[in-house]
Point group: C2
Chain length 214, copies 2
Amino acid sequence: MGKVRFSVTTSLDGFIAGPEQSEANPLGIGGKDLHQWVFPLTAWRKSHGLPGGEENASTVIVEEQQHDVGAYVMGRNMFGGYPGPWRTPAWKGWWGDDPPFHKPVFVVTHHAREPLTMAGGTTFHFVTEGPEAALRRARETARNQDIVLTGGANLIQQCLAGGHVDEVGVSVVPVFLGRKERLFANLERSLPRLEQIRVIEAPGVTHLTYRVVR
Amino acid sequence: MGKVRFSVTTSLDGFIAGPEQSEANPLGIGGKDLHQWVFPLTAWRKSHGLPGGEENASTVIVEEQQHDVGAYVMGRNMFGGYPGPWRTPAWKGWWGDDPPFHKPVFVVTHHAREPLTMAGGTTFHFVTEGPEAALRRARETARNQDIVLTGGANLIQQCLAGGHVDEVGVSVVPVFLGRKERLFANLERSLPRLEQIRVIEAPGVTHLTYRVVR
């Protein structure tokens, strides 16, 4: 069976978004600095419909984010763009008409909604029964392929605490964000054991990969 | 002039000690798991008066902790072993009669005390005027050699926020501690800019080194 995995970029102080997140600035103050390593890469640009770019030691990380993936599971805050009930016209995500997923994406939300089919093979399904229900539906779709958790922090924490994660990827960028959205918090009740399986040093970022030991 | 630097081991969720720290268990629950990478090393064992051991990719990290160091600065909580005024007989640190520093160590504390000379060249000086005063005194002693901040978190945060740190070392161990003592917190007022200068993948740990950019 495929793995459940995630690969998320954090600041050195462990944040995936900075303070004062808003619809105009979803990553908060300083948050965009986290992702400078990805923007120049051909692999990232291609998946976002952009030409050109370069290859470096980070390329494999971007490729893996899409390789052998059958479905994605996403938290509502990451899908965005505001908390609470869906407004009219309904929010369609941050990624334009052709999102870079090209697979079913199961969005965990308190607010029911019809599936949203986008160009390029991405369909957002809205799951109101929690992360485990979303993982079950993702598994039905993904079959033997992997399920990737896109984030945010809350979804990843719930999946870790529930023992549902097989592989943990953390890309550490040498910035401090100071406060707001920590990737690893609220894990007291269940602390998975990890084994370090890969380290990649790349320009401006280090990619750490761990296997959850059961 | 020598650098001011530190090299500290954290859990993947960013803690340098676990919950329920005590005199009997100074690193808290799970905290000792952070340091499993260092105990087998010849370089560590030798500095603690122990025979034997092995070499691996982590060896250089232990060696650097003592190489070209003129003085150490340490927070009172790390010196231990209890908060508040010194009792009689006075606490002499965690490290026995021959501590592994072999240099002057400036301990930042609210409670004045005469210098404490130990075997092997370690003298603990107690500084009640704060971290900057301790750094000044350490610089007078260290001259062109480096000053190493041993920790704990509070001292390192104050020195980072004050702009006194030249090099940041973080050894990331794949454990979760869940809560208690975070290395990087309370940094809102001053967020140093960093440049990644070295990554070492070693058994059970990854050593990240950054230069503070001014």
